[in-house]
């Protein structure tokens, strides 16, 4: 019964989305206030019924109702309750339902906070969210119903959740990522509403910016958690593999990063309007493209869901409708935008454009690298693979100019900047970066790697010039600490964002060049020494989990005879899915990870043990967290808390 209720709610949510897509926009066209103000209640309706549907599916998992096909395929009676909740999004149908819940959630949040926007504009924005909803709900109802029953042959037990996903990282990774992906639909809706209304201006940019920042924060955190999860769960110690699905999440992130910068210019200077709109459209388009790539089976990937041509066809059609119509609207409206703001070649505007240029180039590299194999094969040119060696080398070249610009940008004034005034701060920053970057590798390691020095140089350049920028801000103030505080959250958000990027670069540069990976043959009692650490394999035990049996190897790690920690590394066998998983042992401090993964048991009873020492690897994710915190600070800046009055004044323009 509950499952049918869920299915029915989904259909009702679809009806709401359909009305939401039509009525308010018609009202906005006709200037009919009543129809426009229906946008909010319709949005709430769409959200509430999606939520009911989602709860119904979760209920099916909790009570282990194996008459529901989706539950039977992705759960079992041995699965602990917390994984039953997360098993909802462990496969295609349920994860899409989560996706739609998030989409409806964003729309509902927009409805709540848009009361201060001009009615016409709010109506258009919500209607666009409704239009996106129509496509998603239809897709779900027609091709991916998670409530299908297995009647009359109800299985006795389910086939269990994919063991790879039975992990705390997986509890938060997909929701975070979806919040980010779908959050870009808000920026998209703002852009489309602005194009429809023919009003692209600073006010639009200001309204859209905190939402875009919020989506960007989620995307940043989602990607970071995903990378962290892959690092400890897959057992090979990598934190990024340039897999097509990883790329699919990275592209919207790159564009969203460009977008938050470009929105800043549009907001403060009223320029680059059509470029900003194009970025907003591209960001969401890329997240739709990612959905298509993951769910259609056109690419080979670790993370891809099972392929189904009908689904692929539907998603591609939806993708085409959304992207083509918005790009057409863009061409018609944005080509008429005239920009009057003046700036010179050496100005913050130009540097931010430069930043955008490199981010867009990076996006293009990822897009080409992801899709060229598909195109290459279709043109009959044979199969090629584009992976880590290619992306790593190209990204080094893109990061260099990007980081240089990033260091200079904040020091430069809007409109025009004399170069002479900047010589001192820039030279100071460069000097300190060069000195530190050449000293540091000697302190942390015996060898000096050119690439590590380069990475440190870029990161320290960013840090040093950020410090210079802060000094410049308070140079003329009496009370410097107070002046620093008064800079405003948005400014500190930028500072943190940039520092986080520098931290991540340090992590990447050091772990890529100084990591040690050894595979050794060990039996209980054996000791292996590497880089000053001693790893003693003390014992091998067995453990019975809820739906797996595992062999647990215990290691004592000592340094200079002093015990640092005792850690367990597991090899699990999930009995229902018949899969072996490694559970890595990690000993962590801020400057290095010790990583022990069990390989296979060898014929003489010893084990192949993979031991990694990964200096500064944590800095990569720490950098991500700092960037996200920066985003949070920016988004909470007081100028985004709209005052009723000021918006009322600009509302007249909106109905133009």
């Amino acid at each position: 019964m509950i499952a049918e209720l869920g299915h029915f709610s989904l259909a009702i949510a679809f009806a709401f989305s359909l009305l939401l897509a039509i009525v308010p926009i018609w009202g906005a066209y006709k200037g009919h206030g009543g129809q426009m103000s229906l946008a909010r209640p319709l949005t709430y309706g769409m959200f509430v019924f999606t939520l009911i549907s989602y709860i119904a599916l979760t209920w099916g998992f909790l009570v282990a109702d194996f008459s529901i096909a989706y539950v039977a395929s992705n759960s079992s009676s041995a699965l602990p309750w917390y994984y039953r909740i997360t098993a909802v999004w462990s496969s295609h149908e349920g994860s899409f339902l989560l996706w739609m819940l998030v989409q409806a959630g964003w729309a509902a949040a927009l409805a709540v906070y848009s009361t201060r926007l001009p009615l016409t504009f709010a109506a258009r924005v919500l209607a666009v969210m409704g239009m996106i909803g129509v496509g998603f709900y239809l897709f779900m109802l027609l091709t991916s119903n998670p409530f299908d029953r297995l009647i009359p042959f109800i299985p006795v037990d389910g086939r269990d959740m994919n063991p790879l996903l039975q992990d705390p990282g997986m509890i938060i990774h997909p929701p975070l990522l979806y919040f980010g992906y779908v959050g870009l639909s808000v920026a998209f809706a703002f852009a489309i509403a602005a194009l429809l209304g023919g009003r692209l201006d600073s006010a639009w940019a200001r309204w859209s910016r905190p939402w875009t920042l919020a989506a960007w924060i989620f995307l940043t955190l989602g990607i970071m958690v995903g990378s962290w999860w892959a690092y400890y769960e897959l057992g090979w110690g990598g934190w990024w593999f340039w897999d097509p699905v990883e790329n699919a999440s990275f592209m919207p992130w790159l564009v969203a990063t460009a977008l938050i910068h470009s929105l800043a210019v549009t907001e403060k200077r009223g320029t680059f309007k059509s470029w900003t709109v194009l970025l907003a459209i591209s960001g969401f388009s890329l997240s739709l493209l990612g959905t298509f790539l993951v769910r259609s089976g056109v690419l080979v990937s670790v993370h891809a869901f099972a392929a189904d041509p009908t689904r692929g066809m539907f998603l591609l059609a939806f993708l085409a409708i959304v992207i083509c119509s918005s790009l057409l609207l863009y061409a018609i409206r944005a080509s008429k935008v005239v920009s009057h703001t003046r700036y010179e070649l050496f100005s913050r505007e130009v540097l931010l454009l430069g930043n955008n240029l490199f981010l867009v180039t990076a996006t293009m590299v990822v897009l080409l690298g992801t899709l060229l194999p598909l195109i290459h094969q279709q043109l009959g040119l044979g199969s090629i693979s584009i992976g880590e060696p290619f992306f790593n080398s190209v990204f080094v070249y893109i990061t260099i100019p990007f980081a240089i610009l990033l260091g200079i940008g904040p020091l430069v004034r809007w409109r025009r900047q004399g170069f002479k005034e900047l010589i001192t701060p820039l030279a100071t920053a460069l000097m300190s970066a060069v000195i530190l970057a050449s000293l540091l590798p000697k302190i942390i390691a015996d060898e000096v790697h050119g690439m590590a020095v380069l990475g440190l140089l870029l990161a320290l350049w960013i840090v040093a010039s950020t410090v210079q920028e802060l000094r410049q801000r308070v140079a003329k103030r009496e009370n410097k600490p107070e002046a620093l505080v008064k800079l405003g959250r948005s400014h500190w958000g930028m500072v943190l964002g940039h520092l986080g990027f520098a931290v991540a670069i340090i992590g990447i540069a050091l772990v890529q060049n100084y990591e040690v990976e050894r595979t050794v043959r060990m039996s209980p009692g054996d000791t292996f020494a590497e880089s000053g650490y001693e790893f003693r394999f003390t014992e091998l035990g067995e453990r019975q989990g809820p739906n797996f049996v595992s062999e647990v190897a215990t290691f004592e790690i000592t340094r200079n005879g002093r015990l640092i920690d005792t850690v367990d590394s597991e090899k699990r066998f999930y009995t229902i899915q018949r899969q072996v998983m490694t559970q890595t042992a990690l000993q962590v401090n801020p400057f290095r990870d010790l990583y022990i993964a069990m390989g296979e048991e060898l014929n003489d009873g010893s084990w192949a043990v993979r031991i990694h020492i990964k200096p500064f690897v944590r800095w990569i994710w720490m950098g991500g967290v700092i960037m996200a915190l920066g985003g949070l600070l920016s988004a909470s800046d007081k100028r985004y808390r709209l005052k009723k009055k000021s918006v009322g004044a600009s509302a007249q323009g909106a109905s133009a």
Binding site: S296, Y330, L371, Q378
Partner: protein, 184 residues
């Protein structure tokens, strides 16, 4: 800049997407996991492998050449091989196709022999490649795979997956018969 030109410039992202969309659409109908053989147009690599039935008899690359042959890679652990086996028997008995079998990384010689005894043996010569090294030299990445090799010992075509009447009629058969015609 004229407004018309500007419009077309602003329309260019749309064209870029449409172009991309064509390939995405095509992608729906092709299997990304199917690989083209790197050995088409090249001679069969050298090898030295024991006969499946007689461990002390060995074969080398000289058994290839002089006639058009199919080289079929199979194993008893492979369910698709089971599915195509009847058709291989038909090819051999009804169309007189010369097929060399390459038993690939099987559990044991006995298993393979038992399989052929029970299901029929379509192979003129059966090679036993337990280490999988010839298969690796041939770029085999799964079973079953079938190579069409011409009279000069050059690989002309590779089919991945099972041979069945449709695949034979549409893909592999035409290559085989055109080589046979060329030979005469």
């Amino acid at each position: 800049m004229s407004s018309k030109l500007k419009f077309w410039i602003y329309l260019s992202p749309l064209f870029a997407f449409i172009l991309l969309g064509v390939f995405l659409f095509g992608g729906l109908f092709s299997d990304p996991t199917k690989l083209d053989s790197a050995l088409v147009g090249k001679p069969v690599p050298e090898f030295e492998l024991p006969d499946l039935y007689a461990p002390d008899r060995s074969h080398n690359e000289s058994i290839i050449g002089g006639r058009v042959v199919l080289l079929n890679v199979w194993a008893t652990w492979c369910p698709t091989c089971y599915a195509e086996h009847t058709f291989l028997n038909e090819l051999q008995s009804e169309q007189n196709v010369y097929i060399i079998g390459l038993n690939y990384k099987d559990y044991s010689r006995a298993d393979a022999v038992q399989w052929l005894q029970e299901l029929g043996d379509p192979y003129q010569i059966s090679l036993f490649d337990q280490s999988g090294l010839l298969a690796l030299d041939l770029g085999v990445y799964g079973a079953p795979e079938t190579f069409v090799i011409d009279a000069e010992g050059i690989i002309r075509y590779r089919h991945v997956g099972d041979l069945n009447p449709r695949v034979w009629r549409e893909e592999v058969g035409p290559v085989y018969y055109s080589l046979l015609d060329g030979q005469e």
